[in-house]
């Protein structure tokens, strides 16, 4: 009798343990700035991640098991990012990590993840060296190595033979001007002038006057939307009539708000288009607006897809996935259908490639360019 009770107890304990293991959730870490000067971005990432996670869990999760995201506030500070990385690595429940926001903290944390073997997927780190930190880094943002040649081909196909390039003098701007110039010249076009300006510049009339002297058919702006708005206004003041082109950082409603009529006619490429007719995108935009009462921007879309890509990678391996298995599964991501276009990670470099859309600003709106 005692024997049978004991065995029963043991059996039930065993059952309880396996039962608990079956019901146990899968944990993913997400490090983003939730306080400090860049908290507005972290907020957007968390909003988008929550939407994607709820959708994924509602659709059955990983073989019936739910996934949870553990958020940590990196304040966009590399030191803080490293501390969080150590914490995530030591937490045995966590199988993969998302984030950080800026390239600096992402790379600092990446050193830890690379050494300890934790897959890391950043929605935004676009520094050329981010993926070179180790084999454990991934990103869901196109780099200028993809956008530059895409835009160069677009200009050439549109019959543009001569172009002037104006770019921001930092890592990003140099790669943006460099990649574009290389591809444009390889396609038989001529770059008349390349001008770089220091971050924080506000008066571009001297540059524009110099650049316009060579009468290029088009001007290519490798910069973000704030300087972009100023340079567009000043180009209009100087009656510059060249066609104006730019890359994805121009895709921000704020650009049109700031530049007003000066933004009319500007051409740019981007991965995410909020008023795209695709049901996937319009559903995301409508749901986001309903929940958070604001329009999702490019950042929200990138985080939404980054979370989706990671969850799918975990799902492909199954509920007992290890960190190493998830890394390999992430590396095999191909044609993930996201709101920022179909995404494939390169077999060798792990760089994402996405379908880019061509846009034009017309009547104060971003519309698809023909």
């Amino acid at each position: 009798m005692t024997w049978s009770i004991r065995s029963l107890a043991a059996a039930s304990a065993l059952l309880a343990v396996t039962g608990a293991a079956l019901a146990q959730d899968i944990f993913v870490g997400y490090q983003i700035p939730l306080t400090g000067t860049q908290s507005q971005y972290g907020e957007v990432f968390r909003n988008a991640a929550t939407m994607q996670l709820e959708k994924f869990n509602a659709a059955g999760g990983v073989a019936g098991r739910k996934v949870q995201i553990v958020y940590e506030d990196s304040k966009s500070d590399p030191k803080e990012a490293v501390n969080i990385a150590r914490k995530f690595v030591d937490d045995k429940r966590i199988v993969a990590v998302l984030g950080d926001f800026a390239s600096g903290p992402s790379m600092a944390a990446g050193e830890v993840y690379g050494k300890e073997g934790m897959p890391q997927l950043s929605q935004t780190a676009s520094h050329p060296d981010f993926l070179k930190v180790s084999n454990w880094q991934f990103r869901n943002i196109t780099t200028q190595a993809q956008e530059g040649p895409f835009n160069a081909k677009w200009l050439r196909d549109g019959g543009v033979n001569t172009v002037a390039v104006i770019g921001l003098q930092n890592d990003w701007g140099l790669s943006a001007t460099g990649e574009f110039t290389k591809a444009f010249e390889a396609a038989g076009g001529k770059v008349t002038t390349t001008e770089l300006f220091n971050p924080g510049a506000r008066d571009f009339k001297a540059i524009l006057t110099k650049v316009a002297q060579a009468k290029p058919e088009a001007i290519y702006f490798a910069m973000f939307y704030e300087e972009g708005a100023l340079i567009l206004q000043q180009a209009r003041q100087l009656n510059i009539t060249a066609k104006l082109y730019s890359a994805s950082p121009f895709y921000a409603p704020k650009l049109i708000e700031l530049a007003g009529p000066a933004a009319e006619g500007v051409l740019l490429s981007t991965t995410f288009v909020a008023d795209s007719p695709l049901p996937l995108v319009s559903g995301f935009v409508a749901d986001y607006k309903k929940r958070y009462n604001s329009e999702p921007n490019q950042f929200a879309a990138q985080a939404y897809d980054a979370v989706g890509i990671l969850l799918e990678a975990i799902k492909r391996v199954g509920p007992a996935a290890t960190r190493a298995q998830i890394r390999d599964s992430l590396a095999a991501t191909a044609n993930y259908p996201g709101v920022t276009g179909a995404t494939t990670f390169d077999k060798v470099t792990r760089e994402p490639s996405k379908t880019l859309a061509k846009l034009q600003i017309k009547n104060g709106k971003f519309v698809l360019a023909q």
Partner: protein
């Protein structure tokens, strides 16, 4: 080289120079009277721009009313600034403490502290982003003069610089408070001896100087289409350089040097990469200090 391009660059440079000049006027006025650098002048400029922006967004008044509100707000900002960052360090009225270096350096730091607090507060409230300005208020309508293009903003800023200078000369040389300001500027102790309320004269200097700074902020903000919490920093540095080149307490000198700075930066862009233009302006500063140690327009005799 195409002469019209060069001419356009000179015009571009004059319009940048005027921006620096507008900022330098108030800056130099305060330095001339107290012999201390007011590091918060850049934030007075920013505050002026934000007051104007709030007025525009809330009430859509005509431009002259915006300017009136900014003048008022700038004056108040100057008064508060003097109360917070300068007056507490002027408790003693004896000769030793008035001439003490420590006193001057204390206000250097206290004004820097005020500037940081104001900037961060604005950033908390409005975020670091450039603010959206109603398009109708922007001073960006191009005006074609033969081969040269300018904007209405250039003309308005030019007019405003002239008016500011004129108004300042009027206050300094035609009013009693102007006389008091000049007396304090000349010799604080002497001014006290003849019964001038030096505290009041100094307050008046700050009010007038900050009104000019605030007006500069809103005008440049509307001209460039860029109003944001960090906007005061760069013109502040350039105004400081212009003031030093101009001889520290000469307002016309600072204005002329601000124009020289703007034109040299703009013309330099024509020959070098834009990233190098700062070298040109700072080389000018070094050359001035080597060959004219008391500034191009500075008086030989040491003040105070």
């Amino acid at each position: 080289m195409d002469p019209t391009v060069l001419l356009q660059q000179v015009v571009n440079g004059l319009s940048i120079g005027l921006v620096y000049a507008l900022m330098a006027i108030g800056f130099t006025l305060i330095f001339g009277v107290l012999n201390v650098v007011n590091f918060a002048h850049g934030e007075v400029y920013t505050v002026g721009a934000f007051i104007g922006l709030l007025a525009i967004t809330a009430l859509q008044p005509p431009l002259w009313m915006v300017l009136g509100m900014v003048l008022l707000g700038g004056g108040i900002a100057g008064y508060v600034l003097e109360r917070l960052a300068f007056r507490p360090f002027r408790r003693f009225r004896d000769e030793a403490s008035i001439k003490s270096k420590a006193m001057r350096e204390a206000t250097l730091l206290s004004s820097l502290a005020v500037s940081i607090i104001v900037r961060e507060a604005l950033e908390l409230k409005f975020s670091g982003e450039m603010q959206t300005i109603a398009q109708t208020y922007l001073l960006q309508t191009p005006i074609q003069l033969g081969p040269i293009t300018i904007t209405d903003g250039n003309l308005i800023i030019f007019g405003l610089s002239v008016a500011s200078l004129g108004a300042l000369q009027f206050v300094l040389y035609r009013t009693r408070i102007g006389l008091a300001i000049r007396a304090v500027s000349n010799n604080v102790l002497g001014a006290q001896f003849v019964g001038i309320d030096t505290g009041r004269a100094i307050t008046a200097t700050f009010v007038v100087g900050s009104m000019l700074g605030a007006i500069a902020g809103i005008m440049v903000g509307l001209y460039q289409g860029a109003i944001f919490p960090q906007m005061g920093f760069e013109p502040g540095v350039k105004a400081f350089v212009a003031m030093v080149m101009g001889g520290l307490s000469s307002i016309p000198g600072a204005v002329v040097c601000a124009l020289i700075l703007g034109v040299s930066e703009s013309v330099a862009t024509q020959f070098f990469s834009d990233g190098w233009k700062a070298i040109v302006s700072y080389s000018f500063l070094l050359l001035t200090l080597w060959f004219f140690p008391s500034g191009i327009f500075g008086s030989k005799k040491e003040k105070m």
